[in-house]
């Protein structure tokens, strides 16, 4: 897959931030924030109103934006909400995002939304189902679809393949791009005891259009993707290793959803990651792809 699959991608490079409600007023009032792009969740903007909503829209109309969905349930069975997909399509066009990402998971069952990223079984049947759903969703969106690898804490049912094979089969079967969450790979490696670099080396890196990076926390024997702490050095190193492997300056998005710090502190965290990003891209690259 050539990078040109995503027209407009060249406008997005460096380390961006997730646009969060506590910062909307400050960001709307400040153009010289130094953030190269924001990522916004359409579910949090579409259909909302009031003052924070006005601030969010002002930022989205002013600054470069990528969009990242939370609860469309690609791997689920509930029918699409046609009204929401219509609104989502308009929103994507309005923001000018070059792609739209969703999680490779399910979030709804029998009409009930659990608001949690739940793991799809690693089975051939689930691959077929998810590929069909992703292809159908892609056909309804005005921009290319990316799917993001999630953190998972258990396999759901008896697996017929491992996570790497499952993700690869879905991405290639649906012919969609990959939002590679580096922290999720790291957390899964901790919880399931594998080498994250060896895992990544098996993956179709040519499909990667964007990276996510975040903090996590250990609870007992389980490490949880909390998005509630600073990014630790091993995850930054894995981000750099991935960028070097990709050989492309794909945009990286710092996610922070819990214990959200003041804007100044978050901007400082972004600058730290931006420096790491630039450091690794200044080094001659080795190229990407399988293996």
């Amino acid at each position: 897959m050539a990078p040109s699959r995503f027209p407009g991608q060249e406008r997005f490079t460096g380390v961006g931030l997730g646009l969060r409600r506590p910062h909307l007023e400050a960001v709307a009032a400040r153009e010289n924030h130094g953030v190269p792009f924001w990522e916004t969740c359409p579910e949090n903007v579409i259909g909302d109103g009031g003052r924070p909503h006005r601030d969010a829209c002002a930022i989205l109309d002013r600054d470069p934006v990528l969009t990242h969905g939370l609860a469309i349930s690609v791997g689920g069975f509930d029918p699409w909400d046609g009204d929401y997909l219509r609104d989502l399509g308009r929103f994507l066009v309005r923001t000018g995002t070059p792609w739209h990402s969703e999680h490779l998971c399910f979030t709804s069952v029998d009409g009930s939304c659990l608001h949690e990223l739940l793991p799809i079984p690693f089975t051939r049947e689930a691959v077929r189902h998810t590929v069909a759903r992703a292809r159908d969703l892609q056909a309804r969106l005005p921009v290319p679809l990316l799917l993001e690898n999630i953190t998972y804490y258990a396999e759901l049912g008896a697996a017929e393949m491992d996570e790497a094979a499952f993700i690869t089969e879905v991405l290639e079967g649906a012919d969609v791009g990959w939002l590679l969450d580096v922290n999720n790979v790291y957390v899964n490696a901790l919880n399931f005891g594998f080498d994250p670099k060896a895992w990544l080396a098996r993956m179709p890196l040519e499909r990667v259009a964007q990276l996510h990076i975040a903090g996590h926390k250990r609870f007992g024997t389980l490490t949880v993707d909390t998005h509630g702490a600073d990014v630790i050095d091993p995850v930054i190193e894995l981000m750099q290793w991935t960028l070097a492997r990709l050989g492309r300056p794909v945009p990286v998005l710092l996610e922070r959803d819990n214990h959200i710090p003041d804007l100044e502190d978050l901007l400082a965290e972004r600058s730290r990651l931006q420096a790491a990003y630039e450091d690794i891209l200044a080094v001659p690259v080795r190229g990407g792809g399988h293996g």
Binding site: E43, N44, I46, G47, D48, G49, G50, R51, P52, H53, R54, L70, A71, I72, S73, G76, F77, D81, Y84, F106, T107, S108, V109, D110, G111, S112, C113, L114, H115, E116, L118, I120, P121, T123, E125, A126, R128, H129, Y152, Y153, A154, E155, L156, G157, A158, A159, N191, T221, L222, V224
Partner: protein, 260 residues
Amino acid sequence: MAEARTLVLQRALASLVLDPEGETFEDDPTAFALSRGLPDADAQSFRQFSEGLAAYRELARLSLLDPIETMFPITKTLLVREDAWEACVDAFLQARCVASRHYRDIAPAFLGWLAETGWGQATRPYLLELAHVELLEVLVARFPGAEPPPGLHPDPGLQDRLVLDPATQVVSYRHAVHRTSEAAPVPEARPTHLLAYRDGEGRPQLMDLTPAAAALLVRAQTESLGEAAAALGLADLAATTGLLKDLRERGAIAGFQAAS
């Protein structure tokens, strides 16, 4: 259905998260899986990954309950005092009322569930009103913007009807639920009328209304101010129009137009 096993697995995980039986899942994960119609191989997997699956119950319930605990702090305090909060949220989650993908809709779904089921209201007749007033300002603050109808004028005349700002709500309760606090969560039984609106800065405001003012704000949306005032026995028309003008300046009323 061709993808039956995948769907049964997803339903089993949803049940683990939302149903009371999920509380004791780790006692016998295999039995839980079998009771959800899963084959032996999947049931063994539930045993192998029981710790991680149990974590999903905790994480998803935290995700669903966080906006409820944030938006209804006094309701929660009241029910915690009576050792009823856990039963309340358990019943809510088991009812599977959260259909919306919008996270902001979880708290309204809880309010809707209280209204629909009457949960806890046989012994606490103020419970629904208490929850409603806790959410009222949030709903007003986040109400989607809408253009007022064209041709509104700023000053009320007796032949006019009033047009509320789309975010404004006139509410009446049987209890003074807006006077409660976490320290004193049980409201006084007293008819209460409130105007909830967004001010010029977009911030939500609550205003106590007299019964007559509340009735006027409701009636005068569909009939002329003169007719509404006469029907309500409001003799001081200057005071009435003064109140309406003040509410327009505050942002609660969008304007006035001739009653047809």
